[in-house]
Amino acid sequence: MEPGAPLGAPAPERTSGAARRTGAEIVWDVLASEGVDVVFGYPGGAIMPIYDAMHQRSARHVLVRHEQAAAHMADGYARASGKVGVCLATSGPGATNLVTGIATAMLDSSPIVCITGQVSSTLLGSDAFQETDITGVTLPITKHNYLVTRVEDIAPTLREAFFIARSGRPGPVLVDITKDAQQASTEDDWRARPVRLPGYRPEHQPSEDELARAAELIAAAERPLILAGHGVLKAEAAPLLMELVEKTGIPVASTLLGLGGFPATHPLSLGMMGMHGEAWVNTSIQESDLLIALGMRFDDRVTGNLKTFARKARKIHIEIDPSEINKNVKVDVGLVGDLRRTLTRLLPRIQRRTCTPWMEHIRALKGDSAVRDIQYLPHNGRLYAAHVIHDLWWLTQGKALMVTDVGQHQMWEAQYYRHDRPRQLITSGGLGTMGFALPAAIGARFARPDDELWVVVGDGGFQMTAAELSTCAQEGIKVHVAIINNGYLGMVRQWQQFFYENRYSATALRNPDFVKLAEAHGLNGLRVTRREEIPEAVAQARAQPGTTVIDFRVEQEDIVYPMVPAGADLDDMIRRPPSGSAPGGSSPWTSGAV
């Protein structure tokens, strides 16, 4: 069966009287039929039959150094390609090590299929060696999961798993297969078996009335704003979003995961909203009279205080998951459905219009932010993270595939790299998983072998999964790792500065020499301490055949501005003081609306 062909349709190569196959062989047959070309994993006792059957298969296997990385790699592969990522792990500790990666994929709706080995069915529930109830453990962090104990069930279950992972609101699916089921064999022709999911209805359609009501609200609004989320990328809806904007002149604010869904360099792009969104974006949201939320879920990092969020605005919410409608923010029109299909139906109802006075107002708000931009600080000899990101954007001509970790550097990347294309930024949003970047980038590398790929990572998060440098070396892949090294768990330190009276409790890091660490793996290591050195370092990294780690020693006590304190009103922001004074030191709290 070709990948993407209808499940349940007869497979073209269907033969009667299939040859006897082991469960382990069937696993690989199904993966091949689903179009899987690379899997990420780590062998162990309970999954050895599957690893043994891997020989003479076309799928490439990447041996990770920790199973958490296998799940992140599958996730990074999925986000970079739009396909389903696959990881393998053994039972017990192998399976539990996947948990952080699965939860990350769950919170960001990333389609991955995790295949875990399980002890033999006769031992289930006996606390056997390396037994963990992994379906129980992952119940709340998977879209669905399975325990398979019979060889006949392996193929139908895996096919269901792929279908569930990629359809509707995508997500992780775990399939736990007992060792005896992997070893048993069957003549059962799995291709002839239909996939039965009687309760699963991934697709909804908004009614004509609801679409008409949305179009009315859009026509009547004077200060409308589009909030673009991850769903724009997931549904491949970026061209339709562009069409909507060009027809109406409505400006676009993006969530962190929505960046790239609308080109950052477009005149109507406002950039990121939320806790570390630009002040003028958050203020615009608060002043708007209509929010058109596309494939986003009003996360608390986006809305701030729900009681005061966009009080003057009517709200239209287009979202594939019905349980997200009215979950956090009460909306006037909720359109449940695939974003691409819904916009396709909505667009003909939208009248051509402009938003000139409203955009002029927003541009005036923007002027105030410009004077607070660290890029315009007088040169003081220090290297700021924002410099690094800005220069990376400039030197890569805005075209690199960027993968970030979680923390201050992530927010600076979101603010200073201008993402013009969907799937250009890969970052852990919902779960905020430190250690995500390096393994996710390795996964993305296999999905997009030809793109220039930069990992932007803090010194803290890097060390959580730095062992995967060894995987980079073994696989001979080329990624550029930019460590934004400030010697602190920077975002926690920032909160300590603002909200805990400068008590830097357990946030200072005594780091290894990252250059030597790279060299110890047989990779290239560079150090940058001054802004003038950035172009040469980038050129050197590009010239090397393999992975390069650049240790950017940045200003230690810099702060991500603006900041909406957790639970505060969206326009109650801590701003960088205008011009002149360098940040850091005492608490520069300048609260209040712009």
Binding site: P6, L7, P140, R196, S323
Partner: protein
């Protein structure tokens, strides 16, 4: 906002291992205390029916219903709180009773249409089917005699009328049971 009140959900689910766990985990995760839960097979071979009563406001109840639908093994959910619904519960009550008090116990039971199903020299066991309110009422009247043991099933519920939401749904579906991408 909306006041909290008892909401009754009827979930029709695939009869498979672990499905009940998925359903109640959804309530556990959100820290709801489940007031009552009954589950058993139905007239259809592969479908079980869960009746679940929980305290929630109307917005929460709607979100719970939407989340129940997200479970792959859940076929259909009826939120019957505001519909014409018949809800019944079964209780077995073992109450202290000797020769002297037995007539009084049996008299009370008769008023409630409860049946004595076991009598010993010192006790009577009675069976009562009715609305949860009615069962509460009998328990209150028997309590002074001394309740030795008590078990109730929790409510089962069904919408009134000749229709069945699930039957209508399954009959109306023209697509084959297997999934097409």
């Amino acid at each position: 906002m909306n006041p909290s009140r008892q909401h009754t959900f009827i979930a029709h689910v695939e009869d498979r291992p672990g499905v009940l766990n998925r359903v109640i985990s959804l309530f556990r995760r959100r820290a709801y205390n489940i007031d009552s839960l009954t589950v058993a097979r139905t007239e259809r071979p592969a479908i079980s029916r869960i009746t679940l009563v929980v305290e929630a406001d109307d917005r929460e109840a709607r979100l719970l219903e939407a989340n129940l639908y997200k479970l792959i093994n859940v076929l259909y959910v009826e939120q019957v709180t505001d519909q014409g619904t018949v809800a019944r519960e079964l209780a077995l009550i073992k109450v202290r009773s000797d020769e002297k008090t037995r007539p009084n116990v049996l008299q009370v039971c008769e008023v409630f249409r409860a049946r004595a199903i076991d009598v010993t020299p010192a006790s009577v066991m009675v069976e009562l089917t009715g609305t949860p309110d009615k069962i509460d009422g009998l328990i209150e009247l028997l309590r002074p005699h001394g309740i030795i043991e008590l078990v109730r099933t929790g409510a089962v519920a069904m919408a009134r009328g000749a229709q069945s939401a699930l039957t209508d749904l399954l009959d109306a579906r023209t697509d084959p049971p297997e999934h097409t991408a």
